[in-house]
C-alpha cells in the first residue's frame, strides 16, 4: 500500500504541532469557540451529542495491520475501547477528550494517519471499492487513482472553502461497491474497445434530504485528463454552487438546476482556460504511485484447495460462512474475506480494541498485513489463501468476528443516530438490532437472501436509507420516535432511490411490517428473485398493502 513521501510526512507532522498549539490557545482563551470550531473540524474533531467525536481518515478504506493496531491502542488509551467504521470507510472514536486530541493526532501521524478531510466544506476523504486490487471483476486497480486524488485534494488551496462538502468515490469494476452514483463525483475506471483505460465521470449524485442519482458528465475521459478535468469541475462548482442556502449548496443542486448539458459546457469552457499540463501529473509520478499497489507476493497456487473442500463438506458453520462472506480473488488459490461487524449485540460498524488487534494479527498471518474498511461498515481481509480459510475462520470465531451475514438482512447499514449524533432526530442502532434479532434464525435469513436494509436517524441520510432495498428514516414528533419506510432503493450500479411508502411506524410496528413484507416476498418470489427483484416486478402497491396490513 501507499507510503508517505517526505512531503506527506512533513505536512502531517506540522499539522499535529499546529493543532497542539491551537488547543493550548483555546484552553487559555486566546481562541474563542467560534474561532476554534473550524480549526478542530479541519482535524476531524466534532462536538457531538454526549462528547467530542474524532473521525480518523482511512483513505479509500485501506489500512495496514500496524495502523489498525495503533487505532486499537488509541481506543484503549484515549477512548472507551472501541471504534466505529463509518459509511465513508473512516473510523470514528466517540469519547475523546479535547486535551488528548493532539497526542492522538501524533499517535496517528506515527503510523501515517491523520484526520484531514473528514469534516468541513472541502473535498472529503476519497472512498473506493474495498476489494480493490483483489477482486476478479476489476479492469484496473482503483487505488492509484484514489491515491492521486488524495494527493491532489489534500489541502488544495482553491478548494478549502467550497459551498459545501464534496465527496468523491472511485471504482474500477462494473459492479459498484462504493455507491459512486450517490457521490458528488463518481468515477468508474473503464476499458474501451482499444483496451485503453479511461474514466467514466459521473457528477451530481448525493443522498441527504434531496437524493439525486449522479449523471454522466464524461463517458470516457482519457487518463491524463483526470486532474485537469476535475479541477475544471471543481472551479465551476466553486463559482456557481449556491452559498445562500446550506440545503441547496451541494453540487447535485447546481447540476439539477443548471442541467447536465449546460453544466458540461461550463466545465468545458473552464477547461479551456486551464493549462492541463500544469495540473496533470507526469507519467513518472503515476508510475511511482502505482508501484505501491503492485500487489503482494502471491504464491503460485492451484485454484482448487483440498483443505477448503474438506472443511466445506464437514463443517456446516464454516460452509455457511464461506457461502456468504467470501468473494472470488483474481489470483488462483486466494480469496477475499469479509469480516462482518454486524453481530446481534453490538452497534453496526463497531469494533473493539481487542478485535482490532486480532484482525491486525490475522491480517499479518493470512493477508499480507492488508485490511480494508467498507462503506457497509464491515472489514475485509483482501488476500487470503483458500487453504488458510478454515484456520482463519476458527480464529475469527474466537473473536466473535465470524458472523455469516454479509449482504443479508442483518447486515444493516446504520448511522449512529440519536445514540451519538448531535444532528439525529431518532435512534437507529436499536432499530437495526431489533430487525437483526427478528431475523436471527440463520436458515430463514439465508432463505431471504440478498437484502439491503439501511437506516438513517435523520434526513441527512448518513445511513443511506434512500438506496436501501428497505430504507428506514427515523424521525421524532412530540417526543416519540417514528420510522418512515422507503422501498426499492438500490446502491449497486443500478442505483435507485427508494419509493416513499407513507406514514411512519413505531419501532415495534416497523419490525412487524418488515417481517410481513419479507414473508410476502418469500411466498411470491419467482425462481431466484431477490427481494429487490420481486419488488420491481410486483410494485410499490403490493408491498405497501402488506406493510400497512394492520392499519
Amino acid at each position: 500500500m501507499y507510503r508517505y513521501d517526505e512531503f506527506d510526512h512533513e505536512v502531517v507532522q506540522s499539522r499535529v504541532k499546529q493543532f497542539r498549539n491551537q488547543v493550548e490557545r483555546r484552553l487559555k482563551g486566546a481562541l474563542t469557540e467560534e474561532q476554534f470550531r473550524p480549526l478542530r473540524l479541519q482535524n476531524g474533531l466534532y462536538l457531538q451529542l454526549h462528547a467530542y467525536m474524532l473521525r480518523v481518515a482511512v483513505p479509500y478504506g485501506t489500512l495496514n495491520s500496524t495502523q489498525l493496531r495503533q487505532l486499537a491502542m488509541i481506543a484503549d488509551k484515549y477512548d472507551r475501547g472501541y471504534g466505529h467504521i463509518t459509511t465513508r470507510q473512516n473510523m470514528q472514536f466517540n469519547w475523546p477528550e479535547l486535551t488528548d486530541v493532539p497526542d492522538i493526532l501524533q499517535d496517528l501521524a506515527d503510523v501515517q494517519m491523520h484526520c484531514f478531510q473528514t469534516s468541513g466544506n472541502c473535498i472529503r476523504n476519497v472512498t473506493s471499492d474495498p476489494y480493490a486490487g483483489a477482486i476478479a471483476d476489476e479492469v484496473a486497480d482503483p487505488r492509484p487513482t484514489a491515491e492521486l486524488l488524495r494527493q491532489w485534494s489534500t489541502m488544495h488551496p482553491e478548494f478549502a472553502f467550497l459551498p459545501r462538502k464534496f465527496k468523491i468515490a472511485v471504482v474500477a469494476s462494473p459492479n459498484d461497491r462504493a455507491v459512486i452514483r450517490a457521490h458528488d463525483i463518481g468515477i468508474e475506471i473503464k476499458k474501451n474497445a482499444n483496451g485503453e483505460i479511461g474514466y467514466h465521470i459521473l457528477v451530481g449524485g448525493g443522498l441527504g434530504r434531496t437524493p439525486v442519482i449522479g449523471q454522466t458528465l464524461q463517458p470516457f475521459l482519457a487518463r491524463e485528463g483526470l486532474l485537469p478535468y476535475l479541477e475544471a469541475v471543481m472551479r465551476v462548482y466553486n463559482r456557481y454552487g449556491r452559498r445562500d442556502n446550506k440545503y441547496k449548496a451541494r453540487i447535485k443542486i447546481l447540476v439539477t438546476e443548471t442541467g447536465i448539458d449546460e453544466f458540461r459546457a461550463q466545465v468545458d469552457a473552464e477547461y479551456e482556460t486551464l493549462t492541463p499540463s500544469d495540473i496533470a501529473v507526469s507519467q513518472d509520478e503515476i508510475d511511482r504511485i502505482s508501484s505501491y499497489f503492485t500487489g503482494p507476493n502471491y504464491e503460485n497456487l492451484s485454484d482448487e484447495s483440498e483443505a477448503l473442500k474438506d472443511q466445506i463438506k464437514n463443517d456446516d458453520d464454516f460452509s455457511g460462512w464461506y457461502e456468504t462472506n467470501i468473494m472470488p480473488h483474481k489470483t488462483p488459490g486466494y480469496a477475499i474475506v469479509n469480516i462482518s461487524l454486524k453481530p446481534l449485540d453490538i452497534a453496526p460498524g463497531d469494533i473493539t480494541s481487542g478485535q482490532m488487534r486480532a484482525v491486525s494479527d490475522l491480517a499479518d498471518q493470512y493477508s499480507f498485513g492488508e485490511i480494508r474498511t467498507t462503506h457497509s461498515q464491515n472489514i475485509v481481509l483482501p488476500h487470503v489463501k483458500k487453504d488458510d480459510l478454515p484456520a482463519l475462520y476458527q480464529a475469527l470465531k474466537a473473536e466473535k468476528l465470524a458472523v455469516d451475514n454479509i449482504g443479508l438482512i442483518s447486515d444493516i447499514i446504520c448511522c449512529p443516530g440519536m445514540d451519538y449524533c448531535a444532528l439525529a432526530t431518532a435512534r437507529s442502532i436499536p432499530v437495526s438490532q431489533a430487525i437483526a434479532e427478528r431475523f436471527s434464525d440463520k436458515t430463514r435469513e439465508k432463505a431471504i437472501g440478498e437484502m439491503q436494509i439501511k437506516i438513517s436517524g435523520c434526513i441527512n441520510a448518513c445511513g443511506h436509507h434512500h438506496v436501501g432495498h428497505i430504507g428506514i428514516l427515523g424521525l421524532e414528533k412530540a417526543g416519540v420516535e417514528f420510522y418512515q419506510v422507503k422501498l426499492g432503493g438500490d446502491s449497486s450500479e443500478n442505483t435507485a432511490v427508494g419509493d416513499i411508502t407513507g406514514p411512519g411506524f413505531s419501532q415495534d410496528e416497523l419490525v412487524d411490517g418488515i417481517e410481513r413484507m419479507v414473508d410476502f416476498y418469500l411466498n411470491n418470489k419467482k425462481d431466484n428473485e431477490r427481494f429487490i427483484d420481486s419488488y420491481r416486478r410486483l410494485g410499490l402497491g403490493a408491498f405497501k398493502e402488506v406493510l400497512y396490513a394492520d392499519r
Binding site: L47, H50, A51, Y52, E97, M418
Partner: protein
C-alpha cells in the same frame, strides 16, 4: 453565544465541558455536574437570570461550551425534549 431561555416551565442549564467534552448541568451550588439528577431545576425568573449570567461567564472563562437552557417536565423532573432525554441517558448500548 447567548444562553437566554425561551422555554416554558422549570429550566435547567446545560453545556459541554470544554476540556473533556462531556455533557454537564448546572447544580444549585453553581457547579457543573455530569449527573442530571444534581441539576438545579427552577422556574424562578431571578434565579434563571443568575444562571444565565454564570453560564455565559463560564463560557467566556473557557470552562464550558454551548451553554443553553432546557425545559424540564414539572411532573417527571426529566427533560421535555427528546434530544435532551438522550443527553441525560447516554447511548442505548
Amino acid at each position: 453565544m447567548s444562553a437566554k431561555h425561551k422555554g416554558k416551565g422549570p429550566q435547567a442549564l446545560t453545556a459541554n465541558e470544554l476540556r473533556e467534552g462531556f455533557v454537564v448541568w448546572l447544580t444549585k451550588n453553581f457547579e457543573w455536574s455530569l449527573e442530571f439528577e444534581h441539576a438545579l431545576l427552577t422556574e424562578d425568573v431571578d434565579m434563571i437570570e443568575k444562571m444565565r449570567v454564570f453560564g455565559e461567564a463560564q463560557e467566556n472563562e473557557n470552562i464550558v461550551v454551548g451553554v443553553y437552557f432546557i425545559d424540564v417536565d414539572p411532573d417527571s423532573g426529566k427533560p421535555v425534549r427528546y434530544r435532551e432525554k438522550f443527553r441525560v441517558s447516554g447511548p442505548t448500548l
